[in-house]
Symmetry: C2
Subunit: 284 residues, 2 copies
């Protein structure tokens, strides 16, 4: 069996789905869950998502891998609390949507007998919590790992193997690139969806304005229904890149706006045409 | 049989789907198609989407209803060409996504023996053309009718009956309200999706940036893959409302941007939270 014990801190949608995928794989002797919420633990044990669990962080001892699967802002603090408890040779990883800030905040406190490898599975829905966990969530999905330049190769391979066991496809990049790229391809689309919905509902008449919407707006409402708590956290943790991405987006929107104002049909068609090729790339 | 002859000008996704729905319903003795493209006509006849067809507009004579289902910018010109050809008592309608401009451009040329009722079915996909036509396209979908204040009730009821026969649910409103509402719930979401994709692809590194995207961006690429020709046309035909909607949206986005810059977690959560309720409304 490739893994003896894997501990997962935070049994939400991501942590719960990972635990369940590992459990189903039969490749981990013990999947151990840690969560402050006793009900989530009970549910996870009852549903055989985890083998055993605890509300206490010291449950992480003797784990080969410890996965911190909480909101981004809690990850550095939990990592620092886990370091003194983890057994020698443990690899600590996380699932945060932002990487640079986490690595910066913990790098001074990683003891020499432990390794930290940042991770970010590109999966999730607008819903959250253990009850929507799905052991197939990561199948065929991407998982980004962001090892620091001096990272231990063995540790990196362990984390890679873990996510592959859950069905994910691994990409590695440095944390800085990760945060810039995901500001554009994930965080910005969420900020824009929230803003769009807010702009629509600011139109008070007719009162059934949302009932009149077609398919276009429905896609936005799905994105815009994601957890405000989680996304506020992500936006603030990736502040510098978010501001840049929002400004880049406003420039692109103003180009379209100005072409509309000028009544420039030819220029507008060309500007909109640039976007069309993107679907072919993303669907392939 | 409620209808003797219905003519549809423009056998694209919308016109083709409407013709097919009417044909399948058995409520129309003759569904007549008009299109400049002989291949579309041949396909529509072969697939029994229409009973008969022509490249010439004079095929519209003896129709109870004439539906102009072309791009928005062509509708006023076609309507003016149809008026001298239509038989007494015909009702002319259209499927344009913008209504005020069309009505303004044709209202001086409607002969007293004809009626014009503006229409806008809220259906469609990012694809276009007769080959993606679907007789179920309008089932359970909304269709907005925008009769002018003095409109003939009988004519309005005929158009209503036509769309109900295709499975749509009718809403009526004035053209001005229609254009403001759809600037927000349909045209703005498309402009924003195009701008977002353009902003993402303006990031030249890494070259696989679109491969890294998760579900959030995929929704945008679907919207952003819609026909640039059709949407340029819609944006320009609804210019005044589009500029207002884009400015309203920028204000909403700047609110989020400023809360990120200030690091105001509480304010940001509140701002994002406003959008979340919209999904519940739209899904109900």
């Amino acid at each position: 069996m490739p893994f003896q014990k894997v501990s997962i801190i935070g049994l939400g949608l991501i942590g719960g789905s990972l635990a369940w995928a590992l459990k189903k794989s039969g490749e981990v002797r013990e999947v151990f869950g840690i969560d402050l919420d006793g009900k989530s633990l009970d549910y996870a044990i009852k549903k055989r998502i985890i083998d055993a669990g605890s509300k206490e962080l010291d449950g992480v001892k003797h784990s080969e891998i410890i996965v911190i699967a909480t909101h981004v802002r809690l990850i550095p603090g939990i990592a620092r609390s886990v370091f003194p408890l983890a057994s020698k040779g443990s690899v600590i990883t996380d699932v945060g949507s932002v990487k640079e800030k986490i690595i910066k905040e913990i790098k001074g406190s990683i003891p020499p007998h432990l390794d930290f490898i940042g991770g970010h599975p590109i999966a999730g829905t607008e819903r959250s919590g253990i009850r929507v966990a799905d052991y197939k969530l990561f199948q065929g999905k991407k998982c980004i790992l962001t090892p620091t330049p001096g990272a231990n190769k063995k540790a990196l391979n362990k984390v890679r193997k873990l996510w592959e066991t859950a069905g994910a496809k691994i990409f590695t990049m440095d944390a800085e690139t990760h945060d810039r790229v995901f500001a554009y391809v994930s965080h910005l689309p969420h900020a824009v969806a929230y803003a769009l919905i807010n702009a629509v509902i600011s139109q008070r008449a007719p009162s059934n304005i949302l009932d009149l919407a077609g398919g276009g707006l429905r896609d936005y409402t799905r994105i815009g229904a994601s957890s405000p708590d989680m996304w506020s956290d992500i936006f603030l943790s990736n502040k510098k890149n978010m501001i840049k991405a929002i400004e880049g987006f406003k420039t692109a929107l103003d180009k379209i706006r100005d072409l509309i104002e000028k009544g420039d049909m030819k220029g507008l068609k060309k500007e909109l045409g640039k976007a069309v090729t993107a679907k072919r790339v993303i669907d392939k």
